[in-house]
């Protein structure tokens, strides 16, 4: 749960949904479609309300959370000259892009899957402005510039006015502050309009619980507003209050990030259905050291220590945690998922596998109960664990920990698994040292 990026298309849809409420003096057409391939686009053009796809020159670009699309040559706006792209050309271009892997200048690579298509908007550089808002420290900051597009990023310090808005500031003071900080470069005939828009833009950002909202550039032609490029992040913890206001915006995985594995997805789904917390990220499926750590803080400490002491971060196979009192069933499922992943590949160097069952001293989680789930998973995977020469190191404290440690030791001994168990008298991460020294 945190600040999460949304697609440009969804950001614009949210603008459009609330446009009259916030920007009633201005006009915004919201001519945008989101497609995943050429046929998708061709089909859309046949729908009522989307005739413009056949009638106007188009712009097509990927809508996958990354920026600098122009510099990456991923904005289709010309065939022979700017503003001559037809529906068919856009559709073919999309199909060509999805057929091959794309490598960005940043080195990120992956397959493009989502595109936003809009009408080409002829305009001049001096009609482009910049506006964005985000949170810095405890305050909101509104960034305003008379120059938009790539221009603004080069020379940010000189070109952008920062308006710092404390969280408790009232609307009248906000209006006053924005007026006092309007960029000098805004031409006189657009000044009032820009101020009015900036004020409403801030309220829109605030009320809709955006964590970040940037339009670059925004083109003002009279009262016509063209949102040419938009980047947005939402505070997803506010989701429960927002209902339909967010137009069902999804939170896609960043481009270039491997899609989640089925195991990670399964744990994420179990997490969303549980009052407890279950997290799993696979860092290296071939890794030698697997962790099953209780607690958000302790899990980080174990990962730190494994990276420090192993000397090779690639040894660390996964990151994850369970906390908040998961049920025995939930712990069993979590443990089985980790054990299954751990016993798929032999260590390339023929070394033992290490399983760290770690945790700090719990405040209220019943250790014996969660260990019961882990023991049940051992029973299923004991043979495979032995085949990978798995050594298990346990360290845990908290409610009922003595019983938990005794139970897990007895179970491992009965199943013929190598195990060492430690309680609160042993430093929380010392089992990592013991495991690696052996």
């Amino acid at each position: 749960m945190a600040q999460r990026a949304i697609r440009e298309y969804d950001g614009k849809a949210i603008f459009s949904k609330h446009w009259e409420k916030y920007f009633s003096g201005f006009h915004y057409g919201f001519k945008s479609v989101l497609v995943t391939n050429g046929d998708d686009l061709r089909a859309k053009a046949q729908e009522h309300g989307f005739e413009w796809l056949k009638q106007e020159a188009l712009v097509a670009k990927p809508d996958m959370l990354f920026g600098k699309r122009g510099k990456n040559d991923l904005v289709l706006f010309r065939t022979n000259k700017p503003g001559d792209v037809t529906l068919e050309e856009a559709a073919s271009w999309i199909d060509a892009k999805i057929a091959n892997e794309t490598i960005l200048l940043s080195g990120q690579k992956g397959t493009l899957t989502h595109f936003i298509i809009e009408p080409f908007t002829p305009h001049s550089q001096d009609q482009e402005y910049y506006i964005s808002a985000t949170t810095v420290g405890e305050d909101d900051v509104l960034y305003l510039s008379a120059e938009g597009g790539m221009e603004v990023e080069e020379g940010w310090e000189e070109k952008v006015n920062e308006v710092t808005i404390p969280i408790t500031m009232d609307d009248a003071s906000i209006a006053h502050l924005i007026r006092a900080n309007v960029p000098a470069g805004i031409p006189a005939e657009n000044k009032e309009r820009f101020i009015a828009f900036a004020e409403q833009f801030y309220k829109f950002y605030r009320d809709q619980n955006f964590a970040y909202l940037e339009i670059n550039p925004i083109v003002m032609v009279g009262n016509d507003m063209h949102i040419l490029d938009l980047v947005a992040r939402l505070d997803d913890t506010a989701g429960f209050m927002m209902g339909e206001a967010w137009c069902g915006a999804e939170f896609p995985t960043a481009f270039g990030m491997e899609d989640q594995s089925p195991e990670e997805k399964a744990i994420a789904e179990a997490d969303s259905k549980s009052g407890a917390s279950l997290k799993l990220t696979i860092l290296n499926p071939m890794g030698r050291i697997w962790t099953m750590v209780a607690g958000g803080g302790a899990s980080v400490v174990y990962a730190d220590t494994i990276a420090d002491l192993s000397g090779n971060v690639a040894d660390l196979a996964n990151y994850g945690e369970y906390s908040g009192g998961p049920t025995t069933g939930e712990t069993k499922f979590y443990a089985e998922t980790v054990l299954d992943l751990m016993t798929r590949h032999k260590d390339p160097k023929g070394r033992d596998k290490i399983l760290i069952i770690g945790g700090a001293i719990a405040n209220f989680t019943d250790v014996a109960k969660t260990f019961t789930g882990i023991i049940q998973a051992f029973e299923v995977y004991a043979d495979r664990m032995k085949a990978h020469n798995t050594r298990i190191y346990v360290r845990r404290g908290g409610p009922n920990y003595e019983k938990g440690l005794k139970d897990i030791k007895e179970a491992a001994d009965r199943l013929g698994l190598y195990i060492e168990v430690y309680g609160p008298e042993t430093h929380v991460t010392d089992i990592v040292r013991m495991a690696l020294e052996k």
Binding site: D235, A238, G295, G297, V300, V301, T305, P399
Partner: protein
């Protein structure tokens, strides 16, 4: 000065989180606190007036309120709110608490995932009001030997093992709640435990941050050095560095930022808490660890070396005489097996040398020279209070007034018929009492209820009469068969006279007399009758004694007014029963010529 909590600190616990509250009370018992650390529980959907908890081997009752305002009014000295509301309502609960002027010094918020904008508003509002917010997304904090928030420290066994039962010399601040426990344990093994500790919470926006807590600990003479466990992400550790550099903090600090792993993974992997993600190089754990070490903070080489660093600093302070030996306090132990009590009694106790009525030995209230009358005994056993003489005299007046009303009323008639059937005193009395209810004797209850309702809701006498007409109800307490304005009921006159002379004020009676003026202007016998006067004056008595309106409503709902009638009229019923026994009257059979027989052949269906 400077300590977050003392041994007198009391909290209001928002949400009936029974296991967390029990852990606080177990802690209180073990460390010999005088008062329980939980003064009251706020549970908006609970119908209960209290919850039972163990306090050592015994049980105690913790009062339950429907909202924070009422709980705060009842416990004005409880200056900590433990906000265990969910992420949906935690904001509203905190904001309401902040607006209760002068009540809360500290609000702890446990919910994780409060919308960021709301968290920021909440934190700012608290700062403006001078209220310390611990959290959101935290397990809380502790002042060992004084006050412990909810689940901090885990089980009582772990608390004692980690020396959280008495003050040590370290001030501990962490983000994580799980590692807070761990650090307490490490500090107890390698030093002498902690003097005060706070887990500030894992969300991006938390109320009190590292520096707030460290500055307070700097001022707290019990704290001799501090341990800070930071995390990757954010810049809060730099405020601490500034404070050390500027000399604002002079006590030694040992610090470590967890999350050094993050540097190995470019992006996308969220390690740990929501607040834990570096947006700039300066926010990485490694950069912060280096910067802290450069500022003179004790930073170990890795988390695994933290215990040694703590031991080194502690030993140095010990050798310098800054930290001295701690005398381990006597601890009580909580029994392993405890049994919940099936019954509760809060009015009398027969376990001592002599049985007591609300604390008064019976001998101290029984004989005439004690000055206690039956009114005093009723006030002790029914209301658990010693009422002043004017009130106990009123209670006795009521009982005397209602003691009997002749043989014809339904209760007395029943008692007489039963006695003549040869039954004993108890059976005969009970048949009489069973007639008391809405039609017989119930007017006292209803008069008190309806007149009070009208008065509470600001109705004028005319509006009240209209209201009762619309409800289709006759006004209880108004009207008499024979008595009228010109032929007044002398019992009523006596009661009114007594009240006028002895009650501090009679607002409800005054209101009722205004109502009477209107009703008697319509019909001469629509006077305020004896039942109405008794019920209404009882409300005036309770008001003058300082009871809240809801307390009084509670008395009426519980049937306390009826109870006066029951006690008083029992005297009369017993008189009639004894009279029958004395007269030796035969079995009573009602004459058939006094019955209208109208029996038809039943239809077949």
């Amino acid at each position: 000065m400077g300590a977050l909590f003392t041994k007198d600190t009391q909290a209001i616990f928002w949400n009936n989180n029974a296991s967390a509250i029990q852990r606080m009370l177990d802690y209180d018992y073990v460390i010999n606190r005088v008062k329980p650390s939980v003064a009251a529980i706020v549970a908006p959907t609970s119908g209960n007036k209290f919850e039972k908890f163990f306090y050592g081997p015994d049980e105690i009752m913790v009062p339950v309120f429907r909202n924070t305002v009422e709980a705060a009014a009842a416990f004005p000295k409880a200056d900590v709110l433990l906000n265990f509301a969910s992420f949906r309502t935690a904001y509203d609960v905190t904001m309401e608490a902040i607006t209760i002027k002068g009540q809360f010094k500290t609000v702890m918020v446990t919910a994780e995932g409060i919308p960021e904008r709301l968290a920021r508003k909440m934190n700012q509002a608290a700062r403006d009001a001078g209220v310390v917010v611990i959290g959101p997304a935290t397990v809380g904090g502790i002042s060992p030997g004084a006050f412990k928030i909810a689940n901090v420290g885990g089980t009582i066994e772990n608390i004692v093992n980690s020396k959280l039962h008495r003050a040590g010399s370290c001030g501990l601040v962490t983000r994580s709640g799980g590692l807070f426990n761990e650090l307490s344990n490490i500090i107890s093994i390698n030093a002498d435990g902690i003097a005060e500790g706070v887990a500030i919470g894992g969300d991006r926006f938390v109320g009190s941050v590292f520096i707030d807590n460290l500055l307070r600990m700097e001022r707290n003479p019990e704290v001799k050095y501090m341990v800070l466990l930071g995390e990757v992400g954010g810049t809060e550790e730099y405020k601490v560095i500034e404070a050390v550099k500027s000399g604002l903090i002079k006590k030694p600090i040992i610090a470590w930022c967890i999350g050094t792993i993050a540097k190995h993974f470019s992006s996308g992997v969220q390690f740990g808490h929501a607040g834990a993600s570096a947006n700039a190089d300066a926010e990485t754990a490694a950069a912060k660890n280096i910067a802290m070490a450069e500022a003179g903070i004790f930073v170990p080489a890795s988390f695994n070396d933290l215990p040694k660093t703590i031991a080194d600093v502690y030993t140095k302070l010990r050798n310098e005489g800054i930290v001295t030996e701690i005398v381990e306090p006597e601890l009580k132990t909580v029994p392993k097996v405890r049994r919940k009590k099936e019954f509760i009694c809060t009015i009398s106790d027969d376990r001592g040398d002599e049985a007591t009525y609300a604390g008064y030995p019976i001998s101290s209230v029984a004989t005439p020279e004690t000055g206690f009358g039956i009114g005093d005994v009723i006030s002790l056993l029914w209301f658990k209070k010693r009422y002043p003489k004017w009130a106990t005299d009123y209670l006795e007046t009521v009982i005397k007034t209602v003691a009997d009303h002749g043989p014809a009323v339904s209760g007395a008639h029943n008692a007489k018929v039963t006695a003549r059937a040869g039954k004993d005193v108890i059976s005969s009395l009970v048949t009489g009492l069973l007639t008391i209810g809405p039609r017989f004797g119930g007017a006292i209850d209803d008069a008190a209820r309806y007149f009070k309702y009208a008065n509470d809701n600001g109705m004028t006498p005319a509006q009240f009469i209209d209201y009762m007409k619309k409800e289709g109800k006759t006004i209880s307490g108004i009207g008499h068969r024979i008595k009228s304005v010109r032929n007044p009921d002398l019992r009523v006159s006596g009661l009114k006279k007594y009240a006028a002379e002895h009650f501090p004020a009679t607002p409800l009676l005054d209101f009722a007399l205004e109502v009477e003026k209107l009703t008697t202007s319509k019909k001469d016998n629509l006077i305020l009758n004896v039942d109405g006067t008794i019920g209404i004056l009882m409300v005036d008595m309770w008001r003058a004694l300082g009871y809240s309106e809801s307390d009084i409503d509670g008395f009426i709902e519980a049937g306390a007014l009826n109870a006066f009638f029951v006690v008083g009229r029992s005297i009369g019923f017993i008189g009639h029963i004894l009279d029958e026994k004395r007269l030796g009257m035969p079995m009573y059979r009602h004459p058939t010529d006094d019955i209208l027989y109208n029996v038809e052949m039943a239809d077949e269906i």
